[in-house]
Every structure is written in structure tokens, then in C-alpha cells.
Symmetry: C3
Subunit: 230 residues, 3 copies
């Protein structure tokens, strides 16, 4: 039992580090300095959990209760800042780790809401908020349309589907096992969506030209950034 | 008595649906997908009330206490998403409904602050926050200067004037009647401002060219979007 | 004793007025009207303290507890709005006053967190949030990359260093004296950083061209705006 909790804790720290690294990478081409990347890293890694806790009135905030989370984001940011100056970063690995982070954060968000006595609907919302809001704030702070709003490969949708699965079986399957299954499902759906280029339809107004869709994206995906410039 | 409360509740849901629709329409030309428009709809419809409740420490948040609000925004978003692909949307009707939504939300914000024992000044601030913050977050999330900051036709100013009227007469006129009068005033002032193109002066620095002002805007207003691109 | 508290209070109001003025000036060229500049002024002056209090769950918020803060921001905004139409504003004086405001706000943020029993780490974070978050929200609302993320002259870094100094000596040196020393340090480091053009290194990816750095910035600084357009 203690082992599962400990595993979840370290997995969480790993998720924070990966999210922090994506925050740093969003600074590219934006003339953002060393302090700025630390802010971006903290906001990306801890923004989702903070927004969730504010909405649920669950004080103290995660990073206030446990400053190790904060230090993890800071150290990951400085590491990324230093290394990426000299070496190309492993884009494919980062995308994979980011999917794992999303899965972990979404399940943690749903679990926290349920454990505080909120309804399944709110737990699903909080899963999406925990998994996606950090990245959304990161994009806004670097003046981009948030990636999760755009026709990305099922990013937030994975968190949504996983959270619905989780709250549906909560209380039926043993909590730790259910968490692991859900994490696996979110991760696998996200990776499949990337490989198969699954996307949701884009919003268009009647009379406007439909934007190009579903082209040679697989190639592009592993070459260029996940969050293309505006 | 119960009838007034029920009327207010359904009017509130209608306001949420209209604000959600404006959130969806802000996605045009931004490559935002089906999930993205739902997020924009929720944020536009419920962002103002959420920010108000966070500032007033009034937990649980409205949409946590009553998930019907959340579902209303989601269904309105999906409906708008589907219909606007195939039919031009009724811009003029939407502008009118949006004014009604602004009036309802502003009064609801002021009423909530007063009922929680806050001062009239704070009630006025919360009226503006409840009516306008959702649209502001929507604009930020689609990387636009918030419409309410720009020289729009008295949008936030209507909420401000209405709220001052409301708190001034609160306790003097019967609460339900006062709410209805205030809603009517905000709505009428907003519609008059649109028709007469009333605007506040724009900020300019000394020595800079004054930007063009008060031109052929009536025509433009009913032809193009209320929130022109940057 | 009362005299120090009173001095801090009036210094705080002065800081709010200066921050409000920078909020108004950010509206230049953005077609933002009189209401918009008031919103920007309030957000710039009170956004940092509000975010801090939300994170620390320290209700009521400063401007709800004391509406004088709100009125100070509004009056400063209207004054700036009116005067800057006709007279060039004193850029150099504003930069100096802004440095003083940053110092005051940072110390106030650290002090509040410590007095509520939070750890030194959280106090340092809150010093930076109190000093910098308002300006960051101002920049986001006018669709700019936040100035504090960019290679500005040690803006947030001054708050960070000052806060570390403050929490290190808290309990050792008498509180009022320590506050004054820290304020002086932050102010002096910031002014030195401006004059000497001290900057943190910018984030760049390996293989990308390094952006131009440390050029003729002193001249530019006193000629153009502190927050250059994108």
C-alpha cells in the first residue's frame, strides 16, 4: 500500500518535471530569460493543480503543502534551460513523457475531487483542469492560442475520456488498480491519437472556407513543435 | 415569490447559453476544435461568476453547486458548433440576447455580493466582474485584446451604471422589482449605445496621432464581428 | 510604531498609484477606452496582491477589506488618462517610482506570508507574485509577452533576491528595520540593473541563432517604452 502511494508520488514528480520542461521549451523565440523560463515551468507544471484546488477550495494548495513540487519544477526548468542551449532535445521522448504526465495528472485530479466528496461530473471537469490548464496558461503567457483548444491530437479529449472511465468504475474496482488502468488507457489513447492523427473536427462558420485538415501530420509532428507558432 | 425565483433561474440559464454561443463564435478562424469550443463556451458563460465567487470566497462555486449550469453551457456550445457550420448565425439577435445576458449577470453579481454582506462598492465591482470577466477571458484565450477594454459601445459601462443604480436603491425599492428595473435599464442603455454608437473616449498619449473615432460603425457592427481581429 | 505602519500604508497607496499608471500607459495604441484603462489600472495595481491572497486563502482580499486601495487605483487611472492626452509623461520618473513600488510590494508579500505562518520558501514566492503578477496580467490583457519573462533588467530577479534576503534575516533583525533595508536593497539593485543594463541570459534552443544581446539599451530604455511591442 505504501509502495503504491510512494510510486504515485514519484510519478507525480516526474510528471511535474516533464510539464516544466515543456514550459521552458515554449519560451523559444520569445526572448524569455532564465527567470522567465522558471515562471513558465512552475505555471505549466503546477497551474492545473492550483486552479483545481482554488475551484474546490482545497487549501493549502499542493505546492504550498509540499514545496518539493515547486523545487522539482525549478530544477527541471534550470536543467532544460542549460541543456537545450547545447543539445537538441528529444522531441519524441518528450511527447511520450508528456502523455504520461497528462494521464497521471488527470487521474490525480479526478481522485482528489472524488475524495473531497464532489460529484462525478465535477471530478471529470477537475481531471481535465488538472491535466490541461497548466499547458493552457503556458500558451497564453507566451501569447499563443492554447494548444488544447486547437485541433491537436485528442490531448484534452484523452483526459476527458479517461476521467469518465475512472468515475464510472470508482467504487466498483479497487481504487489503486483503477488508477493504474485509467492511466494506461489515457496514455495509450493519446499515443494512438498521435500515431493515427486522430483529431476532432474544427469549428468553422457557414460560408467560410474549411481549413485544411488531416494532412501529412505524422511526419510534421515528429519534426516540428507540438505547438506550432501562430 | 417562487415564480420570480424560477423566472430568474431560467433567465440565468438562457444568459449562460447565449454567452456560451459567443464563446463558440470567438473560435472562428482560430483552428479550434470541438473540445476547444466547449472550453471557450464554459469559460465565457461561467468565468465571470467563478472569478466573483473566488474573490468573495463564496464556495462552492455556482457551477459546482449546480452542474445544470455546466451542462447548459456544454449543450449550447455543441448546438452552436453544429448549426453554425451550415447556417449563418443571427448576429443581430445574438447581440440583443447578449445585452440581456449582460444585464442579468450584472444584477445577479451585485445581488450576490450584497446578500453576502459586502459593501455597495464591492457589489458594483462584482456586477461588472460577473457580467464582463467571462467575455474577457474568452478574448484572452483566443489571443485578442479583450473587447470590453476597447472602445466598444458602453458594454461594461452599462453594467457599471446599472450596478450603481441597483446598490443605490437597494433596501429602498423591493428587491425583486428593483432587479427587474435594473435589468431593463442595463438592457436599454446597451441597445441605445449600439444604435447611437455611444462610446467612451480612447486612451492616447500626447504627441501620438488620435486614432479614427466614431465612423461608420453602425453599418460595420451588424455586418462584421463585434470583436474585430487585432 | 504607529508612524511606521502609517508610513507603510501611504507608501503602499503610492505604489498602487504608480502601478495603476503603468497599467494605463500599456493601453497606448491598443484602442482601449476610459473604462478599459480603469480595468487595466486596477488589475496592474491589485492583481499581484489578489493572486497572493487567493493562493494563501487569506480572505477578505486586500481591496475588499479596504476599498481605499481600489479608489486609489481608479483615481490614478483617470488622472493618468486625462494628463497623458496632453502632456508627455515623465518616463524616467515613472521607472524610478515603479522600482520603488516593486520593492514595497515584494516586501509586503513576503511579510504577509510569514505573518500567516507560511514557510520562507512560500514567502519568497509570494514576494515575487505580489510584486510582479499585476504587471504580468496587464501585459497579457494587452496581448504582450509579459515583460517580466523577457530579458528585462532584473525586474523580478530584484524581488526574488530581496525576498531571499528578507526571509533569511527575519526574526534576527527587527521587522520594521529589516523591511526598510530590504526595500532599499531591491530599489537600489533595480536602479543599478537599469543603469548598468544587467540582464539574465535568454533561453535559446541549440541550433537556433542567438538573439542580439546587451546592445545600446541604455539609450533605448529612456527613449522607448519599457515594454517594447512584440
Amino acid at each position: 500500500m505504501i509502495e503504491v502511494t510512494e510510486f504515485v508520488y514519484y510519478a507525480d514528480l516526474a510528471g511535474i518535471a516533464v510539464f516544466a520542461a515543456t514550459g521552458v521549451l515554449a519560451a523559444q523565440g520569445r526572448q524569455i530569460d532564465m527567470f522567465g523560463v522558471i515562471v513558465l515551468a512552475i505555471v505549466t507544471a503546477l497551474g492545473g493543480g492550483t486552479l483545481r484546488d482554488l475551484c474546490l477550495n482545497a487549501h493549502p494548495l499542493i505546492w504550498i503543502a509540499d514545496p518539493v513540487l515547486l523545487w522539482t519544477a525549478v530544477i527541471a526548468a534550470l536543467f532544460t534551460f542549460a541543456v537545450c542551449r547545447y543539445r537538441p532535445y528529444p522531441r519524441r521522448a518528450l511527447l511520450t513523457l508528456d502523455a504520461a504526465g497528462l494521464a497521471l495528472f488527470a487521474v490525480a485530479g479526478a481522485e482528489k475531487a472524488l475524495s473531497l466528496g464532489f460529484t462525478p461530473t465535477i471530478a471529470v471537469v477537475m481531471a481535465v483542469v488538472t491535466g490541461c490548464a497548466g499547458g493552457m496558461i503556458r500558451d497564453l503567457m507566451t501569447v499563443r492560442i492554447p494548444g488544447i483548444l486547437r485541433h491537436d491530437e485528442f490531448y484534452a479529449t484523452c483526459a476527458l475520456l479517461g476521467a469518465i472511465f475512472y468515475v464510472s468504475l470508482h467504487g466498483i474496482i479497487e481504487s489503486g488498480l483503477l488508477a493504474l488502468i485509467t492511466i494506461a488507457i489515457i496514455f495509450i489513447v493519446r499515443m494512438l491519437a498521435i500515431v493515427l492523427e486522430l483529431r476532432l473536427p474544427v469549428f468553422v462558420l457557414a460560408g467560410m472556407d474549411h481549413p485544411p485538415r488531416l494532412p501529412r501530420l505524422l511526419r510534421r509532428l515528429f519534426k516540428k513543435s507540438k505547438h506550432p507558432e501562430e
